[in-house]
Assembly symmetry: C2
Homo-oligomer: 268 residues x 2
C-alpha cells in the first residue's frame, strides 16, 4: 500500500514543520497520522471487500437467473466468494429452500396413481455433491477436465445432498415415480448406481444416462429428447429438479421446475 | 435485552463477593463485566443481522431462479433488506449486468433485415421504474392495491431504467424491431405512451396492452398468446427482456431471454 506510505511520509514531513511544538504534541500528531493512515487503509480494504462481494453476488444472481452467456469458469475475483458460499451456510440455506418449496408443490399435486406420475431428478449437484472434487479444483476456477472428473466419478464416493435426499424420500412416499436423468455417460451406469445406493437413494424407476449417440448433444437437447420420449410413452412429468438450466428448459418443460444453486460450473 | 441485564447483575454480585479487593480492581472488574455484556449484545445483534441477511438473500435467489410458489408480498423480515437492495448499489449492479449481457447477445445475432427481427421489452420494472411508488408502499410488503397503483400509472411520471434505456437504444440501432408487451390495460395506452416518450423511449414498432378479454388471463398465458400471434405473422422473436418469469416463459420462448431483477412483487 505505497499510497498510504506516501501519505504517512508527507504528513510526517508536514508535522516536522511544526517542530517548535512540544515533544508530546509531536508524538500525538504522528500517532494520529499513522492511525489515520491505518484506518484509511482498513477502510479502503473494507470498501474493496464490499465491492467484490457486490460484484460476485450480482454475478451469482445472473447465473441463477440464466442471464449469462455460456461460461467456462468462474471469474477469478470471485474464487473466495464462491468458496465461502459453497462451504458456508449460504449454499445450505439455498438448498434447503428449494427442497422445501419443491416439497410444498409435490404435496399439492393431485396424482392419478396410474404409475405415470413422474418426478425427474438430475444427479450431479442435485442428488450427489461433487463439492469434494471442486474444492480441489478451485471451486470452478479451473477449466473443466473431463479425465480428472471421470476419475473422481469412478471412485463412487460423492456424498448425498441432504436436502435433496429429504425431497426424494417425500416424492417417493407421495407416490411419484422417480426418473433420474443425468448427463453422465452410459459407461458410468454401475458406479453411479453404486454411489447413489451407498448414500441412501433407492427405488427409482429409471436411470437415464447418455448413450454414445447422445454424447455430442448439448444437455439441453439430450434432456429435452428424453423428456419428449417419456411424454410419448404416456408419462406426466409433474416436477423436475436440477442445478442447471439445461436440466429444466427446452421442450416438454414441466409445470414447476426447481433450480438448485450452482455457481461453480455451467453446462449448455 | 433482559438476558444481558441478568448476566450483568449476576456478575456484579459475583464481583461483590470479592469485596476485600481494592476499590480500583472492583471498578475494573465491573467495567469489564459491563463491557463484556455490551460486546456480547453487539455480537448477538450482528449475528441476527447476518442471519436475516442470509435468509433474505436466499429468498431473493429463490425469486430470481423462479423457485417460489406464487407470492403476494415480500417476507416481513426482509423489508429492510429489499429496501437496501432496491435503493442501494445491488439493484443497479444487477440491472447493469443484465443489460450488458443482453447487449453482448444482441450484437452477436445475425439479423435478416427483412423487418421481422424482433426484440420484446416488458414495460414496468423493465423500461419504466415504479420504485417511487413502491418506496411509498413498503417495497412490496403491502398487498398490491390496483386502484392506488393505477393512480400512480396515470400520473405518467415513472422514470426510465437507465441500463434498459441503453440496451433499448443499442437494440434499435442494430436493426431490431422493438415490441413492447405489457400487462398494463389498453385504457392506459395514452398515458403509457406519454410516459415512455417523456423519458426518452422512441421508435417502437408495437405497443401491446391487455384488451378487455385479456384482463382475466394470467400474464404467462396472455404474453404467450401475443408471442404466438407474432410468430404466426412471421416475426422472429430473437430477444426478450422482462422482470417477471411470466414475461419470459410459456410458449414461443425466445432463444435468449433476460430476467431483470425484481424482489418487490410477483405476477403469475
Amino acid at each position: 500500500m505505497s499510497f498510504f506510505n506516501d501519505i504517512v511520509i508527507f504528513l510526517s514531513l508536514f508535522s516536522f514543520a511544526f517542530s517548535q511544538e512540544t515533544f508530546n504534541s509531536k508524538i500525538f500528531l504522528k500517532t494520529s497520522i499513522t492511525e489515520y493512515a491505518e484506518n484509511s487503509e482498513i477502510q479502503l480494504k473494507e470498501c474493496l471487500i464490499e465491492e467484490v462481494q457486490l460484484q460476485c453476488t450480482s454475478w451469482r444472481f445472473a447465473v441463477e437467473a440464466n442471464n449469462l452467456s455460456p461460461w467456462r469458469r468462474i471469474p477469478e475475483e470471485c474464487v473466495n466468494y464462491v468458496k465461502d458460499y459453497m462451504t458456508g451456510r449460504g449454499y445450505q440455506f439455498d438448498l434447503d429452500r428449494v427442497s422445501n418449496e419443491a416439497g410444498v408443490y409435490a404435496r399439492s399435486v393431485e396424482l392419478r396413481g396410474d404409475g405415470k406420475d413422474v418426478w425427474i431428478f438430475d444427479v450431479d449437484e442435485t442428488l450427489l455433491s461433487n463439492l469434494p472434487y471442486y474444492a480441489e479444483h478451485g471451486y470452478g476456477l479451473e477449466i473443466f477436465d473431463s479425465l480428472k472428473f471421470d476419475e473422481w466419478v469412478e471412485k463412487g464416493i460423492a456424498p448425498a445432498i441432504k436436502s435433496s435426499f429429504k425431497l426424494y424420500e417425500e416424492v417417493l412416499s407421495l407416490g411419484f415415480k422417480v426418473t433420474l436423468l443425468t448427463g453422465r455417460s452410459e459407461r458410468h451406469r454401475n458406479i453411479t448406481t453404486y454411489n447413489l445406493i451407498k448414500v441412501g437413494f433407492h427405488d427409482w424407476d429409471k436411470l437415464i444416462l447418455r448413450s454414445s449417440e447422445d454424447l455430442k448433444k448439448t444437455a439441453l437437447v439430450y434432456k429435452s429428447q428424453k423428456r419428449n420420449e417419456m411424454i410419448e410413452e404416456g408419462y406426466r412429468i409433474l416436477g423436475n429438479s436440477g442445478d442447471q438450466w439445461s436440466d429444466l428448459l427446452g421442450s416438454s418443460i414441466t409445470d414447476r421446475s426447481f433450480k438448485l444453486p450452482n455457481p461453480m460450473y455451467y453446462i449448455p
